[in-house]
Each structure stands twice: as structure tokens, then as C-alpha cells.
Symmetry: C2
Subunit: 206 residues, 2 copies
């Protein structure tokens, strides 16, 4: 598909390639967003701010992404609540500018944190309530009720463990996914399969 020249002849071409690459990233991140139950625009705004690294105002975002003012306003608010972007002000300029958190791990942590809050915590609460609904009976051959509780408990334990870990490592003050990942990466396990398709340099220094 990408047939034409890949090496820029001049500054203008290089710039066009840069924008094109940014747009592709924005689109991918946006697609991810929808899979995650995050609105596409919200993910795109985040992608734009992250990949450019520059503070941008509402109008710039609107123009670059081609979305409405209201949409940008709501997306930006959510991102602020998630703690993955922040407001910056320019002296002598009324506009608000927004800039993305630049540390990837901190960003990933914020994402994980939000998802757990929205997905897992409510389930655990519901499981607790449900358990109280059908009291464990004493005598009787109520095998079914026993099974129900066994299964509820197992799920609760499973998700409970995951949640505890998540709070520990992905919480706002947690040790960081990075730490967790390092710990696990060293753990002795049978198989091992690299995913990179070859070209990946050497990682960062973060």
C-alpha cells in the first residue's frame, strides 16, 4: 500500500510525514479507546496531546481532529479527571491550554486505575450483596445454595486478589506497573515468547 517515497526530499515533505504519522497514531489510540468503552474522541484528544507533547487550546484540538467544541470540552474534562492531562496557562492569553502527562507508565497506571474503578469495584460490591440474598442454610440438602456460595466466593476471591494487586501497584501512590512488570519478567516460567517484530531499539531510560 505505502508505495511512494519514504525519505523526505525537503522540509515540507518531512512535515507532512510527521503529521500523517501522528494522525495514524491518533486513529489507533482512538480505536483502542472504543474497544475500552472510552469514547473515541476522548481517546483521540489524549492521543493528540500525548504524541505532539505540546499544550493545545480548544480551537486547535477542534481543528486538528475535526470534532465539535462541545465534544472537546467534555473529553478534556474527563481526561483532567483521569489525571492524564493538565491545564496550562499562557500569560496574557485567556485561552486554556492542555498538555498530556508525558510519562507512559504514569499514564498506563491512570488508565488501569480508572478501569478497575469502573469495572471491578462495582462487581465486587454486587457480589457481596448477592451473597446476602440467599442465606446459607444449615440442615437440608440445599446443595444448590452451597454451590452458589462456593462460586460467588471463588469469583470474589479471584477479583479481590486482582483488585488488591491493582491498588498496590497501579494506585495513585502505588509502586507502579513498571515495578510489577519487572518483578514478573524475572519470575521463572516455562515458555517465553518475544512479541517485537524486530526493529525495536533498546527501550528508553525512563
Amino acid at each position: 500500500m505505502a508505495s511512494s517515497s519514504n525519505t523526505p526530499r525537503n522540509a515540507a515533505q518531512a512535515r507532512a510525514q510527521l503529521l500523517e504519522a501522528q494522525d495514524r497514531f491518533i486513529a489507533s489510540w482512538g480505536r483502542m479507546g472504543s474497544v475500552w468503552g472510552i469514547s473515541r474522541t476522548m481517546a483521540e484528544v489524549h492521543a493528540l496531546l500525548y504524541i505532539t507533547g505540546q499544550p493545545m487550546c480548544t480551537d486547535e484540538i477542534m481543528e486538528r481532529l475535526g470534532v465539535s467544541r462541545g465534544n472537546v470540552s467534555m473529553s478534556v474534562r474527563s481526561l483532567l479527571e483521569w489525571g492524564v492531562i493538565e491545564k496550562v496557562r499562557h500569560p496574557g492569553d485567556r485561552k486554556e491550554y492542555f498538555q498530556a502527562e508525558q510519562d507512559v507508565w504514569s499514564m498506563l497506571r491512570a488508565i488501569a486505575r480508572e478501569r478497575i474503578k469502573r469495572e471491578v469495584d462495582p462487581l465486587l460490591d454486587a457480589l457481596d450483596e448477592i451473597g446476602e440474598l440467599a442465606p446459607r442454610v444449615e440442615g437440608q440438602s440445599q446443595e444448590e445454595v452451597r454451590d452458589l456460595h462456593k462460586r460467588l466466593d471463588e469469583i470474589r476471591d479471584g477479583f479481590g486478589l486482582i483488585t488488591t494487586l491493582a491498588h498496590k501497584f497501579a494506585g495513585p501512590r502505588g509502586a507502579g506497573l513498571q515495578t510489577a512488570a519487572r518483578l514478573l519478567a524475572k519470575a521463572p516460567v516455562g515458555r517465553k515468547k518475544s512479541h517485537t517484530s524486530g526493529r525495536t531499539k533498546k527501550g528508553g531510560d525512563a
Copy 2:
């Protein structure tokens, strides 16, 4: 909210409570499903089969959940692909029955596996493509291009690490989330915060 009698007087009441509790579980799991980008019905079918533990045929599922035949058919197929339910046949009965995987960890592993396949892998592929789009230039003050690559690499490394771990621990032949969880639970980290709302027993024996 749950004001009325909580201790069943007779078998019929006990049964009603059981069904009610099951329905609540099904509803919760279904809600989780939609947050995850899984169709509500698919999650509900799974919940029903898991919580009852019994093999059920299409008509029973339709009736219990109040959904169409086509919907059940499609949901069941996806669940089979995910590997979280299986077909069982009764001798002398043409119908197909379905039964849920009963091990929670194996179930959670399957879920994690599917999500990574659908969410993370495509992103990594896209990142690779995008990187090739804007070639790193040598001379020039192309700071922006350098930044772009730095950010792309960081994201790729982050998700790459997560993916590697996931394959290692959540893959079909992986060591299991359980193992990962145990490893992490022991890891020394500052804070610690219990999530359970009190009544949780002592964990299982799994």
C-alpha cells in the same frame, strides 16, 4: 433495600431466593460485559452457565434470559471460541447442551487472553507501521520527529512488556494468573489496602 424476610420458611421460598440471587449475579456479570465491550447477552449466558453449573440447552437459556434464539446461538458460539464453555451431549437427545468452565482462574485467564488479543496486539502492530511512516532523519534539527519516535517507542515498550507478561502468565499454556498474583502479593511494596467489605471468609483452597 432488602427489607423483607431473609431466612427461608420452606423449600419454595428457598428456591425463589436462589433464583433471585442467580438473576442478580447474571445481571451484574452482564453489566460488566458491556463495560468490557462484550455484548451483554454473551456475558449473561456465560454467567447463567457458570452460576448454575449445569449444562443447559438453547431453549432453556432463551427462556431463562428472555432473549432470542439467534442471540443465544451467536453468544454461545463466541463463548466456545473463548474456551470458557463447552458442548456436552446427552445420549438419545438431539439437543446440544452447554456447560461453563468451572475453574475461576482458568476462566479469568481466558478472558485476559481474549482481551489482549483484541485490544493490545492490534495497537502494537499499528505502532510498528506508524514508526516506518516517518523515517528518523540524520542531520537536521528534526526534533519533532525524534520526539515522535521517542514517544512511539515508549508506548510500544510499555505495552510490549505487558503483552509479554500476559502471554507468559495468561496464555493457554501459561503459568496462570494465580501464580502471577501470588508472586506479586508477596512483593514488598509500601502501602497496602484491603478491599473486602468485611465478611469475606478466608480465601479458597484452589
